[in-house]
């Protein structure tokens, strides 16, 4: 019997979640302890909302494409 392959979208969900958590964490840290060298429009805190967006996307993909036994 042919083995069932895990969907590529599941792997994408995984990496988006991990990246989202890392970027969100870095963004929150930057919010609490602002770096000396600021990027242009650093006040927008892109890391926080972009990281959160990646986490949401990643979790949706993980849940939708998670490997199932049957």
């Amino acid at each position: 019997m042919k083995k069932k392959m895990i969907s590529i979208w599941f792997f994408i969900g995984l990496i988006l979640t991990v990246y989202g958590l890392l970027i969100l964490g870095a963004g929150i840290y930057d919010l609490a302890v602002p770096a000396k060298l600021r990027v242009v429009l650093g006040n927008l805190h892109a890391g926080v909302w972009w990281g959160a967006l990646l986490v949401v996307l990643g979790v949706v993909y993980i849940l939708k494409f998670r490997p199932r036994k049957t």
Binding site: K3, M5, I6, I8, F11, I12, L14, I15, L16, V18, Y19, L22, I23, G25, A26, G27, Y29, D30, A35, V39, V40, L41, G42, L44, A46, G47, W50, G51, L54
Partner: protein, 560 residues
């Protein structure tokens, strides 16, 4: 802290993000090895890909890091004119591949484009195209590898040998393990990362510039000349920074170069051949075209934003002389400008992912053509399927090693890069004429196909040499002494396509055609194409091709 002489500096979180990426692509390679036991699995990804996966992989294989960096730089240099390479230089050809050509590639069950030539014209045409394609693909892969390592050195200060060996070893491992299946899976992943890593630059850039209208006003304030219109300035060679005329864009780029690349370069066509059925194979290039149309958002727009918010970037030689920044660095400069900790790592991962998707595309296509179109015909005795899978795995590693060798050769003799890139262009335009006549004209004969392809390739080399030896020949080849190298390429491609087509027709009319019974599944008029009448309108590829075509026309009108 930033290393002196580098554009950006990565923090611990950025390095971690890059490390996670390398870990995941290798994990996918190891995981997929168990699913690639037969030649069909290894070389054709089991012909089981959905239209979305095949379509995204089709675009990703072309979306290399040099593509991102190079076209962002080109848009800083030439303005929105660079968008022609994404729109008229890609969309019509991709739709043509999906609707007109794909049925013949797919129904013939060929494993490669040279394989199609073998079925249609015989061994001579197959051998000529396979040897040229194999050689050029692996050399191009080496050149891209070197260029990427150079970018990493300039941007991050990474050792050039480290970049070459780590990235190429990673690609070699995951492609050798999982073949085309692994390459396609990783290309889809890389495509998503490229978008998520690069999309923030135009978003934050537009906020800084104050929107499109204010950005255009700033560009007009900073520079003289038209940088923001697609067609208005190309009525004459001298009215635009590219030195090109609309005939070169429409016929040279939009017809010959674009159709040659998107419909016959096996690097991209291989991804579509892996689709699970004919409808998916037809939909894949259409889905790819939809995404290709959006790529200027992450490539061209950053260059235009650079013109608005970072005026003063100069050409490479001037930058070296003055110690300033070159427009070739516009994309990493924009990353450093807008992306903070973590996001910068994601942006750099996007560049690395772009490089690896391009390289994996080259290597997996090379392994297939080498194994099935060069090695197999040379072996007379019957060999098992597992033998060819094994040859494919070893060819992948060999291809990567030859690419590394090319990268080091280019490091020593930089001018080789120009020659190899020119060599690649010699072959693509005439190949399009050969394949097109093969699919559309049942009277085309094996001799016509072979001599047409040879004449087109030789004439292209001849024209290139003529201009090299006598620069005044540019006025003849490119129709103007003011033409820039890009314009010369357009016209050379157009002439060699015409020569190839002319020789194919003439020789075919003088030689005996194949009987129609041998052309079934290969040629229009001899092949019964499956009906799509039973499908709903929204399930039909032609409907979505029409939608993409309408958006393409609308975009050209908006940015006219």
């Amino acid at each position: 802290m930033q290393n002196p002489g580098t554009l950006v500096s990565l923090g611990g979180i950025d390095i971690l993000i890059i490390a996670v990426y390398f870990f995941l692509v290798l994990t996918i390679g190891f995981y997929l090895k168990r699913f690639t036991r037969t030649g069909n699995d290894f070389f054709m990804a089991g012909r089981g890909m959905t239209s979305w996966i095949a379509g995204l992989s089709f675009v990703a294989a072309n979306l290399g890091a040099l593509e991102l960096m190079g076209w962002a730089a080109a848009s800083y240099q030439y303005g929105i004119l660079a968008t022609h390479w994404y729109w008229i230089g890609a969309i019509p050809a991709m739709l043509f591949l999906g609707i007109i050509m794909m049925p013949f590639y797919y129904i013939s069950r060929t494993h490669s484009v040279p394989g199609y030539l073998q079925l249609r014209y015989g061994n001579s045409s197959r051998s000529l195209s396979a040897v040229c394609f194999g050689l050029m693909t692996v050399l191009m892969s080496g050149i891209n590898m070197y260029s990427m390592a150079l970018v990493m050195k300039v941007v991050l200060g990474w050792d050039i040998h480290f970049s070459i060996w780590v990235s190429s070893a990673t690609v070699a491992i995951y492609v050798a393990l999982g073949g085309l299946l692994s390459a396609i899976f990783n290309e889809v992943l890389q495509f998503v990362l490229i978008w998520l890593g690069a999309l923030l630059i135009p978003i934050i850039g537009m906020i800084e510039a104050g929107g499109w209208t204010k950005m255009v006003a700033k560009i007009q304030q900073n520079f003289s000349g038209d940088y923001t219109h697609l067609w208005r300035s190309i009525g004459s060679f001298t009215d635009n920074p590219m030195g090109i005329h609309w005939t070169g864009i429409v016929f040279g780029l939009g017809f010959v170069i674009s159709f040659g690349y998107w419909t016959t370069d096996f690097l991209v066509v291989q991804r579509v051949l892996a689709a699970k059925d004919l409808r998916s194979a037809k939909m894949a290039p259409i889905i790819g075209a939809g995404f290709k149309m959006m790529v200027p958002l992450i490539v061209i727009l950053p260059g235009l934003l650079g013109l608005a918010v970072m005026p003063g970037l100069v050409g490479e030689s001037q930058a070296v002389a003055t110690g300033g920044h070159s427009y070739n660095e516009v994309l990493p400069l924009m990353m450093a400008r807008y992306l903070g900790p973590g996001l910068l790592g994601l942006g750099i991962t996007a560049l690395i992912a772009g490089f690896m998707s391009g390289m994996a595309g080259n290597i997996s296509a090379f392994a297939t053509v080498w194994t099935y179109d060069i090695y197999k015909p040379l072996r007379k005795k019957q060999l098992s399927d597992s033998h060819f899978v094994s040859v494919g795995r070893w060819t992948t590693i060999l291809g990567v090693l030859v690419s590394i060798g090319t990268a080091y050769l280019v490091m020593e003799f930089a001018s080789i890069m120009d020659y190899v890139q020119a060599l690649f262009s010699f072959f693509i335009a005439p190949l399009f004429a050969t394949v097109l006549f093969g699919m559309m004209w049942k009277r085309a004969t094996p001799a016509g196909g072979f001599w047409g392809l040879l004449a087109g390739t030789v004439s292209s080399i001849g024209m290139w040499l003529w201009v090299k030896l006598d620069p005044s020949a540019l006025a003849v080849i490119a129709r103007s002494p003011d033409a820039k190298p890009m314009a010369e390429n357009m016209y050379r491609a157009l002439w060699c396509w015409i020569i190839c087509a002319g020789v194919t027709v003439l020789v075919s009319l003088w030689t005996k055609p194949k009987p129609e019974s041998e052309l079934v599944g290969l040629v229009r008029g001899c092949t019964e194409l499956p009906s799509e009448q039973h499908l709903r309108l929204t399930q039909r590829p032609i409907f979505w091709a029409g939608v993409v075509c309408a958006v393409f026309i609308l975009l050209n009108i908006i940015f006219w």
